[in-house]
Amino acid sequence: MSSSQKKISGIVAVMAVAGVAIGFYITGYLMSGPAAFHPTVTPGPSRSVNLTLQTDAAVGPSLAPNPDWVSYLVQDQSGKWRRTTVWSLPAHTLVHVTVYQFDGDSGLRNPFMAKVRGTVGNSMQVNGKTRNVIDPDDASHTFAVPALDLIVPLMGVADDAKNQCGYGPCAMSNAHNTITFSFMTPGPGRYRWQCLVPCAAGFLAGFGGPMQTLGYMDGFLNVS
């Protein structure tokens, strides 16, 4: 090998190694997503799953690189709040959902989504009271699984409520509404769920940022 040949071969080799390394890094980066959360399944004839969620106006610096983004959080078995929106659920099982709603109202873009559909009894409990519709302007978020025709509008905390939550995870002492509802999981598959309220402050139509990044306001039900 001549010296220029060595030089060029060296350059090509370095470029190839660097390229492959960068490629692996980028691919790995793009493959990363929120880790799935496995809630505990209550066994027995009345097989069911309890899912406890909270919605925060600002997720907080401890849970996300974007502390001001709005987000759902899920409570794990140890009582800790985690920021993941991918939940693994068993098929054909009743899921009891409890949502602690800490965020204020933003209003629905499409008022039609203020009607509860697809839950057991097509209704929900808001602070203990049964409701099947809310005023669309009071909606803060929704829990919607369009493939199941399931939608639950979540009523926001009143603007003048005392002790509002700043950054998540919010404590139970902060002002909140408690919404509970139940639904049956369908057969196995991946079902996306999302929020339909334009709640991403600062983005066009309230639908950028956390509304279009997995792990905040939308995710998947991995039913198996």
Binding site: N110, F112, K115, P146, Q194, L196, A205, G206, F207, Q212
Partner: protein, 285 residues
């Protein structure tokens, strides 16, 4: 016989056979499978359109493929043959004229035919002032003097449907009566979507703040697959839905039942309009 023919005549002969066989196969075997089927007047029109286009294209494809195959085989340099130059033919005015004239004729025919097929609307979205309005069929007129209006409201990432002729209720279910002309008004609440029902041959972009009208007359009772055909963000790939084409009686039942079911929320809906620009619109929270 082939021996006596010149190269040109042989190519012409092979081409004639190939395109005849090809076109016969298209007309008999392929046509029943051509999209978008016969679920509506519009879909049938598009299928006929696709059939005619395929019939026209087969001879063109055959000409190019036959010509090149023939030329590449016959005029190839044999192994070991010297690298001699070919004859210096720099053009042929007659061939060029024929080529230009025939391609122009084909193109003008296709454009005229396409325009003729378009006159019925062809199921495409035509904006707020449709020009190509199809005539309603007798069966449709028997069900109502005016086409049934259905509004498609797209948002990230779900379609909902409004039935202004029946009190303006909104539903998550897309149901149409068979043999009735439908006037679809497609609009969006946020970004561009596209309402696509492959089986009905309907596609219309949903634009924020704009009304996009498409006409369709379903002719077959069937269930429908609905898709979003314009990239609209994170869950674009999940923005599909199902719908149904049902008999007139079943449609009346659907309307009555659904109307009662959604009654609690109907009073909150804005007055029916061709477009909606809900607040907050821009960057606000």
């Amino acid at each position: 016989m082939m021996r006596k023919l010149g190269h040109g005549a042989r190519i012409a002969l092979i081409w004639l056979v190939a395109s005849t066989v090809g076109d016969v196969l298209v007309a008999t075997v392929l046509t029943p499978h051509l999209p978008p089927g016969t679920g509506s007047t519009e879909a049938s029109g598009q299928r006929f359109d696709n059939e005619v286009l395929t019939l026209v294209c087969i001879p063109i494809i055959a000409l190019i493929l036959v010509f090149f195959s023939y030329v590449l085989i016959v005029f190839r340099r044999r192994t070991g043959a010297p690298l001699t130059d070919g004859p210096p033919i720099r053009g042929n005015a007659r061939v060029q004229t024929i080529w230009i004239a025939s391609t122009t004729l084909i193109v003008l025919f296709l454009a005229a035919f396409g325009t003729y097929e378009l006159l019925g609307g062809a199921g495409g979205g035509q904006g707020s002032g449709p020009v190509f309005v199809p005539d309603a069929s007798a069966a449709s007129l028997a069900q109502g003097a005016k086409p049934l209006q259905v509004q498609v409201i797209a948002q990230q990432w779900q379609f909902t449907y409004r039935y202004p002729d029946d009190g303006g209720f909104e539903s998550a279910q897309f149901v149409l009566p068979v043999n009735r002309q439908v006037e679809l008004h497609v609009t969006s609440l946020d970004v561009i979507h596209s309402f696509w029902v492959p089986a009905l041959g309907v596609k219309a972009d949903a634009n924020p703040g704009a009304d996009n009208i498409a006409y369709v007359t379903p002719t077959k009772v069937q269930s429908l697959h609905i898709e979003c055909a314009e990239l609209c963000g994170l869950f674009h790939g999940y923005m599909f839905d199902t719908g149904r084409v049902v008999s007139a009686a079943a449609f009346a039942t659907f309307v009555a039942k659904q109307r009662a079911f959604v009654a609690p929320v109907t009073r909150y809906l804005p007055k029916y309009a061709t477009t909606y620009l809900p607040e907050p619109a821009f960057r606000a929270g």
